[in-house]
């Protein structure tokens, strides 16, 4: 690490806007990973990268949705090291499909793993070890087409294990419930692979539904999944996952998502969507206003009936 890199993590006030955080850390040609899993996806963060048009990205991820399919559709991804790319219940990843099947907007390199073994790659990255052993992948065709998956004999028992290499992305973008200005990040609910991606990355951007005081963090130290020393920037970014859900915060807007993914079925529909929902605005605030705060508030209020934050 260079001196400049270390300085970010030592800052006492790491707050910045999303625009600043992306332009500071997400550089052309860099590798990047986003938090979220089958929900709690980094949507606002994806839109900002598309707005800034950062090219030739290597996308690392377990099961990216918007941050996979839309970045690929926007022509910003050179290579993807992932386990899955789609939107599950609401629809398929048609940009991903078009890129692989037809090379539209351009072909991408693909290095495929499974969700767990992407998780293990991040664990290895977080631990600063070169690889992790696993019993996944054995016997399947993933190692046939991905030569980074190696097999070895366990030197203790002689059993077969697969190895996956550490992942150390240039940038991790991790969305959490709340953080203080130093970057101490807390999540209520599941964390998918968030705590390891934050540590595996060279630069870590914490986005959060709410910035709180350090005193508030200290009230629930068991909830801190990422300590300040692993964090470069903190961005307050409410409703960052819309139309996805965020636990204890707002419900899934699946009807919006279905509309979005209907549009993504054609290349033209996707490009039109970008014009209307991304390029039309200078920031996520514009998107949220177009969605409507009344609608967002309904999603927030209905969520409180089901999962009520105890913080």
């Amino acid at each position: 690490m260079s001196v400049v890199e270390i300085d970010w993590k030592k800052k006492n006030d790491k707050r910045m806007t999303l625009k600043e955080a992306i332009s500071t850390f997400v550089k052309e040609g860099c590798s990047i990973i986003f938090s979220g899993m089958g929900g709690a996806q980094c949507v606002a963060q994806t839109y900002e990268i598309i707005r800034q048009g950062v090219k030739n990205l290597t996308l690392i991820g377990d099961s990216p949705c918007e941050c996979g399919d839309m970045l690929i559709g926007a022509g910003l991804v050179k290579r993807a090291e992932i386990a899955w790319c789609s939107y599950a219940v609401a629809g398929l990843g048609n940009n991903f499909r078009r890129a692989i099947e037809e090379g539209i907007p351009h072909p991408i390199e693909l290095e495929e793993y499974s969700n767990y073994t992407i998780g293990l790659r991040l664990l290895a990255g977080a631990l600063n070890i070169p690889f992790m052993p696993t019993k996944s992948l054995l016997g399947s065709d993933l190692p046939v087409y991905n030569k980074m998956i190696k097999e070895m004999e366990d030197p203790y028992s002689g059993e077969r294990v697969a190895l996956v290499p550490a992942a150390n992305p240039d940038v991790a973008i991790v969305h959490v419930s709340r953080a203080d200005q130093k970057g101490n990040a807390q999540i209520e609910g599941f964390s998918s692979n968030a705590e390891n991606m934050a540590r595996a990355a060279k630069h870590t951007i914490i986005t959060c539904e709410e910035i709180v005081s350090t005193e508030e963090i200290m009230r629930y130290p068991n909830l801190t999944i990422i300590p300040q020393y692993a964090v470069d920037a903190v961005v307050e970014l409410p409703y960052a996952c819309h139309p996805w859900n965020f636990p204890y915060a707002y419900a899934y807007d699946i009807t919006f998502h279905a509309m979005q993914l209907e549009a993504f079925k054609t290349r033209e529909g996707f490009l039109k969507w970008l014009d209307e929902w991304c390029f039309a605005f200078d920031s996520w605030e514009g998107y949220l206003e177009k969605v409507g705060y009344g609608r967002l508030d309904k999603l927030r209020r209905i969520e409180r009936r089901f999962t009520r934050s105890s913080l």
């Binding site: 219940v89 499909r97 793993y113 499974s114 599941f190 964390s191 692979n193 009807t255 279905a258």
Partner: protein
């Protein structure tokens, strides 16, 4: 009582679950099946969701493996990597997986249909493994759900995303896989199980009204058939009642997502809270 095919599949999935099982389930029919089992014959079953939630008892339908219902009334929220590690450790009894192609040894493909192309430029690109490879590698038994079609039931899949019994016999053990492999393939017309020695899939039961010949016509290898092919039990009244409460909006069992408006959706959630709270009382 009348029932839809989807409702039969929910019941057939539920039938695979024993009380006390820990179940790794994706959204849709598998989760509905697991919940129906929990609310009927398997009150101590625990459902694990990939994002890192264990044991949810949600008062609404789960719309994603990381949807908020996954943390509702659950016993533990943790990480994806920890949950899969627990599976690799052998704590998970049942894993539910799907795919676009399956072969006679229960190997699944959810990566790409090569067609006239190849892995790098396939005729049809699918989402990929996600957690399916891991589930198929480590769950004590896996339950496969896939529509019965000749183009899907192959001698050998184009790409093994999720290992079944590989080349049959002890190939799976030799590969070093810790999990037990597929226990059943549930389709829209029948259920397959696996020969304990050869590990080849055979026809175990046909759904009500389906003939053995209909099934054979949709399988592209020379299918072995059980001596006494059973009829898949239709859903019980209780299973149907619960399925219809769990998926009151018909998102999975009626394909109603397209017709859903925002206001109807919020309304559906509000009603769901009351009705599901009621049926979960029995297992709390």
């Amino acid at each position: 009582m009348d029932y839809s095919l989807q409702e039969l599949l929910v019941a057939a999935s539920a039938a695979e679950i024993k009380d006390g099982d820990v179940i790794f389930a994706g959204v849709g029919v598998p989760t509905l099946g697991a919940l129906v089992a929990k609310l009927t014959t398997a009150p101590n079953a625990i459902i694990a969701m990939e994002s890192g939630s264990i044991g949810p008892q949600p008062y609404r339908v789960i719309l994603g493996i990381g949807d908020n219902p996954c943390v509702e009334n659950c016993i533990c929220t943790t990480s994806l990597w920890r949950l899969f590690s627990d599976q690799q450790r052998g704590y998970f009894d049942v894993g539910m997986v799907g795919g676009a192609q399956v072969d006679k040894y229960g190997n699944l493909n959810s990566t790409a249909i090569f067609g006239k192309g190849s892995y790098t430029r396939p005729a049809s690109r699918l989402p990929g493994s996600g957690g399916a490879n891991d589930i198929a590698s480590s769950a004590k038994r896996t339950i496969i759900t896939i529509p019965l079609q000749r183009r899907r039931f192959l001698e050998r899949v184009d790409y093994i995303t999720s290992p079944g019994y590989l080349d049959g016999y002890d190939a799976r053990e030799r590969a070093g896989l810790p999990g037990g492999g597929p226990a059943a393939i549930i389709t829209n017309k029948c259920v397959f199980r696996f020969d304990p020695v050869t590990k080849e899939a055979y026809l175990y039961s046909v759904h009500p009204g389906v003939t053995v010949e209909e099934v054979k016509a949709e399988v592209s290898w020379d299918l072995k058939v059980a001596e006494d092919v059973k009829v898949t039990p239709p859903p019980t009244e209780e299973q149907l009642r619960i399925t219809r409460i769990l998926d009151a909006g018909g998102i999975y069992t009626q394909g109603n997502l397209k017709n859903l408006t925002f206001d109807k959706y919020i309304n559906m959630l509000e009603e769901s809270y009351e009705s599901l709270k009621e049926i979960f009382k029995g297992v709390r």
